[in-house]
Amino acid sequence: MSYYKLLKKGIVDENPIFIQLVALCPLLAVTTSAINGISMGLSTAAVMVCASAAISVLRKVIPNEIRIAVFVIIVAGFVTILELLMEAYAPPAINEALGIFIPLIVVNCMVFSRLEAFASKNGVLPSAADALGMGLGFTLGLMTLGVIREFLGNGSVFGFELLADPSAHVLIMLMAPGAFFTLGVIIMVMKFYRAHRAYFRATKGGLSG
């Protein structure tokens, strides 16, 4: 498979958020603003690329019986590096918002599914490309949720004020229930699109046909 296809697979065809519905904890917890969502997504993507490349290099050395334990330790090592880097260089506000969800990358099922399904069977560069695609797909999902919630709850997008009037802000979108509702609506729209895909294609997306 070409690298382009590997990237597209993670971002579009098998998007971890919209298609596979994995890694929901960070998705729902940190998407109170678009910036938080992107930071979380890129951090996870960085860990995924490093871990996938490392495990791909070691794939012939790791005994099959204890591979899960080895995966866990390698991922935990990269997560610890990321944690220390974030503490040193990331803006304190972002570091605080992501909180324990940075160490929780260790138990992210999306990271493991890529290691198990792809990196333990393929070469270094394809594994890194696969991890990068999935990581970017994850970032895209987090950003979408972050933009929607930040706009509805705070009237801004990426920190730029669009709706200054506080009476137009729906505060609950920034709280826990808003995350559930936003994802619910997104998945409903996806289901609707998939159920009527043939119709959308036939009319080229126009609703009047």
Partner: protein, 193 residues
């Protein structure tokens, strides 16, 4: 702080599932049936309490004196993984009936972010040993409660022919969880921290 207050606080006021989003995968993954939800809930409650009882002293009496607090991620995940393996073997040998009902959920628990997250929160916040254990027991009870309630709702709603097809399954589970989360907000202010 009064241990009872910590318990109520962790189970209801700051429910780790519905207000802090820990343990989402099993929350939506095994909430199709009340029976499996009950099994998973008890398995999490059991392992969560035990995991905190081990990681909390380990962090404060071994990692902190050695100045190795940054190793907590690696160490905790190893402790939880081996603990789960050990509990599984112990139950298989000594409590066959319990193993039959909880056994299949145990391997899934190793990568349950609720357990790992609660152990991390317990050492991040200044909890004493008792508070940490009671806090994780409360978190486990809160998880059990939320999972069981959602399973009850989903069992009824998934077989209801009046619900439109695109609502069914995951979207409906998410909306139910959102409404439950709003309901739990009513407990806010129950305890003055």
């Amino acid at each position: 702080m009064n241990p009872f207050m910590v318990l109520i606080g962790a189970a209801l006021v700051n429910n780790y599932v519905l207000t802090q989003f820990l343990g989402m995968c099993p929350f939506f993954g095994v909430s199709n049936k009340t029976e499996t939800a009950l099994g998973m809930g008890f398995a999490v409650l059991f392992v969560m309490t035990l995991a905190s009882a081990i990681t909390h002293p380990f962090y404060h009496y071994i990692l902190v004196p050695l100045n190795a607090g940054y190793l907590q991620t690696v160490v905790f995940i190893l402790i939880i993984a081996s603990l789960v393996q050990f509990v599984e073997m112990f139950l298989k040998k000594s409590f066959r009936a319990l193993y039959a009902s909880l056994g299949i959920f145990l391997p899934m628990i190793t990568t349950n972010c609720a357990i790992f997250g609660v152990t991390l929160i317990n050492v991040k916040d200044p909890h004493s040993f008792t508070e940490a254990v009671v806090n994780s027991a409360g978190a486990g009870i809160g998880f059990l409660l939320a999972l069981l309630l959602l399973a009850g709702v989903r069992e009824k709603s998934d077989n209801n022919p009046d619900i439109p097809e695109i609502f069914k399954g995951f979207p409906l589970a998410l909306f139910s969880a959102g409404l439950m989360s709003i309901a739990l907000m009513g407990f806010q202010g129950l305890i003055k921290f």
